[in-house]
Symmetry: C2
Subunit: 352 residues, 2 copies
């Protein structure tokens, strides 16, 4: 059995949980390497993956005896099988943040479980702490993102459209990685005031401000970086806001370390923004791994202690509706005494 | 208020439902045109969309007074507001097939609803029947898919990789549509035995069998077509299976009409496959619309009566593990007395 499944089984034992039903495909891939529709059951003795005819061949081609995972075709699982899987289990966990209300009712009916218990992100919390291989994959994705950004600084010219630049980024990633980690954001001029805008046919103009939010996947792991850049020069009315965002982005980096509270970090930035008359309208950051947005979430709604080998983003932004916006974002690895920025592109005024 | 919201309100009235909480973003887009994170509430009197700072500007830019939708920033909604929204409602519906168990508990807590009731796909069932505009968009997506396939027949040459062909399809769609409706499947040789395989670096060879499953989006609506084609000639051992799949695909088309049972259609194909020693290992078809897979699902697990102006696929397939597979699929519109194939590409032996 691999170390991730072993870790999860130890956590289950400590929670007095004798069985677990895993439905989230990202969690299944994390634990087993299997990238297919199906359900992973951890029973008292066995690890069981139930899938269907479309995936059986693929799943068998991935697994080895060492994995200790029994594969079932869903058509061969009888009513009795379902009822026997968790027969001697006191508590069986399910993923209440992934399973729909309708599926929850179906789990109880099908498996005849007495005590189906909420697991409070048991696997997502395990996923927050990255191992060596995971960090190495994220490092590579970040390095390629830095290289792509460097290339963009020579590529972008007035007259090009936002879409065209986004497509060039996609092409760059496609040739070197598993592809995009998320839909690339390229916004210019007044469009930059929309934090989640979509690249349009607007053409880059002289004196434009441009926001680029980009990331790729390497062996299934993501990178995430945003830079706000300028054509020709930086307008005087933008400088104070750029400086304020950058100051807070750097200060957050300086504070991020093992033990630090994510809520406190958010409050620090929020307060400094408010002091200057602006709001922090989105999260300060989020975990990055197999998913582009995963735990921990860095905002004022939740509080998590940062831990060594978490990988998170640091991305404050200020947006003036109808005028412009500035966001600066790095992907960083938390260490015992600070953090390491895995994306390393220039952050002072970048003028092309 | 638009006709889709009006239709939904009429259905609610007939179900004695005074309020409805809509969480599924596809359903929200269908009903309002809004493509943003948030929740749509239908209260006794109002249509309310609650979103956050990232989307407020975008949402306001889409809506007009005629829409009769009130937009709230989630940060401005107080505890009392939540409790007042459904104050005089007897029954409030929620989407039990979309809302997670954790969110379900949160809805009850936040809105203080006495009777939160399951709605059994109330909106998905409305979405099954397409209106004129929706069908026109799907028709366009299907026409472009036919044109793309025609182009592919001249483009594909031995030596090209599966990935390369898939990328050419993506490029073709990108230049003419909103892009892919799903990740294109291009498989060749023994890879065709995996119904949901992913394009690889395998090169097309002389005498190869190739399966292409492709579709694009036009104004948010999908097309879906599969063809199995041959390089040079059709191997004799493949012909009986190709003929059997095609025969069943055409027979299904002939039976599809208003009133027909989806389970019966599936049984018909399944029985003929079994008679010849093969299994039908995936659904015979599925609805197509804003989502590439949506209701109705055509398989033996559920039963739906086909209705005029449903748009569904007809896609039987046979797969011989490790050897080859054949699938043939069209997107079709159900009419009173039959069906119209919206994808029209050749289906007899296609040899390049």
């Amino acid at each position: 059995m691999n170390s991730k499944l072993q870790w999860l089984r130890n956590t289950m034992a400590s929670l007095d949980m004798q069985g677990l039903i895993i439905s989230n495909p990202v969690n299944i891939k994390y634990l087993t390497g299997i990238d297919a529709e199906g359900t992973l059951l951890l029973t008292r003795k066995d690890n069981i993956f139930i899938t269907d005819g479309r995936y059986i061949e693929h799943v068998h081609s991935i697994l080895t005896l060492y994995d200790e995972i029994i594969v079932y075709d869903i058509n061969d699982v009888s009513k009795d099988d379902y009822e026997n899987f968790f027969m001697f289990c006191e508590n069986v966990g399910f993923e209440e943040y992934y399973v729909t209300y309708a599926d929850y009712k179906e789990l109880i009916r099908k498996y005849k479980i007495n005590n189906l218990v909420e697991t409070e992100h048991i696997i997502e919390r395990q996923r927050m702490i990255k191992d060596k291989d995971e960090i190495s994959n994220i490092e590579k994705a970040c390095e390629i993102t830095d290289n792509c950004f460097k290339y963009l600084l020579t590529y972008i010219k007035p007259g090009m459209t936002e879409k065209q630049i986004a497509e060039e980024i996609e092409e760059y990633y496609k040739q070197r990685t598993d592809g995009l980690a998320f839909d690339t954001i390229v916004l210019s001029g007044e469009n930059t005031s929309m934090p989640h805008g979509v690249p349009s046919d607007r053409k880059i103009q002289e004196q434009d401000i441009i926001t680029i939010d980009m990331g790729c996947k390497v062996n299934g792991y993501c990178s995430d970086m945003t830079r706000t850049i300028f054509v020709g020069s930086v307008a005087e009315y933008i400088k104070p806001i750029y400086d304020l965002v950058l100051k807070n982005q750097v200060q957050t980096l300086e504070e991020m370390k093992d033990g630090e509270s994510t809520r406190l970090l958010t409050k620090m930035v929020e307060n400094d923004f408010k002091l200057n008359g602006y709001d922090l309208i989105h999260s300060l950051g989020h975990g990055v791994g197999m998913e582009i947005h995963e735990a921990p979430y860095i905002n004022y709604r939740t509080d998590t202690q940062l831990k060594e080998n978490m990988v998170v983003t640091d991305e404050p932004g200020i947006y003036i509706p109808g005028k412009f916006g500035v966001r600066i974002e790095d992907t960083v690895q938390i260490t015992k005494f600070g953090c390491i920025s895995l994306t390393k592109s220039e952050k002072n005024y970048i003028i092309i």
